[in-house]
Subunit: 338 residues, 2 copies
């Protein structure tokens, strides 16, 4: 099984278009000038040359140097054999992400190796990219019935995915059932998918009332023919026993790395909501809970990292704490083979 991490930031990317927080200023001022996901180089000033090679900027007012990378919005692609690929969500950055490597390039005129998109929620940073995959390409969108309703009944724009025949096939999926992901031709791709329902809310834009609560957000599991398993959990508010049992023994866990601490947005941006109120368990809490639970997990990565999160700075104590606990902070363009 091959996994490509195409994007690793939370909604709004890093840097975020209207944000001038310490992290965004540092990564922007330090060479993020041409859309490239560049190693951050030193700012102008006396420290520039000294810091150039290892990508640090000079220390800021707090005395902490910044060393880190720009990131596009969270997006992974998985494949059994590198021929048919499946996206977990469709980020607003998907077109750039497809061009960032050759695996997802078209193989012929009007032809894409992307055979399907599996949705974990109706969050904008997880679904808007579907509107960018509208050039008459046939593929399947797997989603909970409530999420299909939100997209297709509340938002007329998604009709652009059904202008010709064949184009997008909307496929309802239910939590707890294992189902095969199909190639564009309808054949089994060698990957199985399973959905685990999370206690979450629908996004604030949703108008329809009475939607099934358990269909709002999910953890996605992909299993290969040889039994390797990947868990994709980019947004989760708590670590239930059910979720802990499901992620036991996965070979790769991609887990909610949105915020380091519960009051992060309040401190950095004066926001009135805590991480928990926004449906995200803070990293400092999840690391401790997962360690205490003794859950056995292969490789552990934090993904969906918000621009305000101190772990984006590889020179920070928070980043060091994450690495110390055996976790990695996912970066764009990482590839994993299981």
């Amino acid at each position: 099984m091959r996994i490509q991490i195409l994007g690793s930031a939370a909604g709004g990317r890093f840097p975020q278009w209207n944000c001038g927080c310490g992290n965004c200023r540092a990564v922007r001022g330090a060479g993020y000038d041409d859309l490239a996901r560049k190693r951050v180089a030193g700012e102008n000033g006396a420290d520039k040359d000294a810091y150039k090679d290892d990508g640090r900027t000079k220390p800021d007012a707090s005395g902490l140097a910044f060393r880190g990378r720009a990131r596009t919005q969270a997006q992974i692609a998985v494949s059994a054999d590198g021929s048919a690929w499946f996206l977990a969500g469709a980020s607003p950055d998907i077109a750039f992400q497809i061009e960032s490597g050759s695996a997802l390039h078209p193989r012929a005129l009007r032809d894409s190796p992307i055979a399907g998109v599996v949705l974990a929620s109706a969050d904008l940073d997880h679904v808007v990219g579907l509107l960018l995959l509208r050039e008459f390409q046939p593929f399947r969108v797997y989603a909970a019935p409530s999420i299909l309703r939100i997209l297709r009944e509340e938002n007329s724009m998604f009709a652009m995915l059904n202008r010709v025949e064949p184009q997008v096939v909307w496929t309802p999926m239910n939590a707890g059932r294992v189902f095969p992901l199909l190639s564009t031709e309808g054949e089994e791709s060698g990957l199985l998918c399973e959905v685990h329902s999370l206690a979450g809310r629908y996004p604030k834009y949703v108008k329809t009332r009475g939607l099934a609560e358990e269909e709002a957000t999910a953890a996605l599991f992909f299993t290969s023919g040889s039994g390797k398993r990947v868990a994709y959990v980019p947004a989760v508010g708590s670590l239930s026993d059910g979720l802990l049992a499901k992620i036991e023994n996965v070979d790769l866990l991609l887990f909610d790395g949105t915020f380091w601490s519960d009051d992060e947005l309040q401190r950095v941006q004066g926001s009135s909501e805590t991480a928990h109120e926004m449906g995200h368990i803070p990293v400092e809490e999840s690391l401790r809970l997962l360690r205490n639970a003794g859950t056995r997990i292969g490789r552990k990565m934090l993904i969906h990292v918000n621009n305000t999160n101190p772990i984006l700075n590889e020179a920070s104590p928070e980043h060091a704490a994450v690495r110390q606990a055996g976790w990695e902070v996912a970066e764009d363009n990482w590839q994993v083979e299981l």
Copy 2:
């Protein structure tokens, strides 16, 4: 007045995610590998070094070398003085486009120099970017009443632009009236805007029936305090006398460069629609009509160029014909000062 050309391709960008046409293959194979808008360098093989410096790839099967650049989707920003900026449309690539230069970077925490977005249509490649400008930023969206209805009543996702107070102010605009573009604080920015209604259709996704036909698509005109004028006409099906009169004497015309010929998509992709049927006057026709009409225009650029258009190849006879006629083919990151 300052004008930034942030994107110059038609919907789907260049290269387009699922397209393997000659242009897309050439620009992709030739170094478009990391999201950067790079000068296209030579492919591997014997010709590589010979072509490296001027960015040509080796000749393809047709014997024609490719020399050209990748492009993001059509997007311009205009400003009277470089402090408040106004976007004509909001392309799906807007977040990357904001990061491509420093003028649109935030000046403080949660602060953007983007004060408004003026919409010419409800086309997805012209409006989806609004969904990416949702991080609690106050700005104005100017659009025809019918277009406001499509966004706000048919598509619940746009509610994310009104989660806090102040955030987006939706401002109806009517064809034929000149109105001032306002700063975030509600003061005159020094730019005036005028809308000229075009004979066009609503996008195919639109559900609402009975919308005013004349509000479907528009040409946008921006005028500075010193009387300089820019016309933005990225999608137009015919050159009416009314439009010709309006673009007479503009200092900069950004005009529909989607297709070179009427049957371009049919020949390249087997599509069943002509350029005219898709609401675009082909470039070979508009160049001739504009020349014959004798319209006086300052600087003339083609924008919204589709990935199939031969003018993307600077080595093509079509590109030469455009230049010969006194036109330029707009590129990402161009800046114009009037």
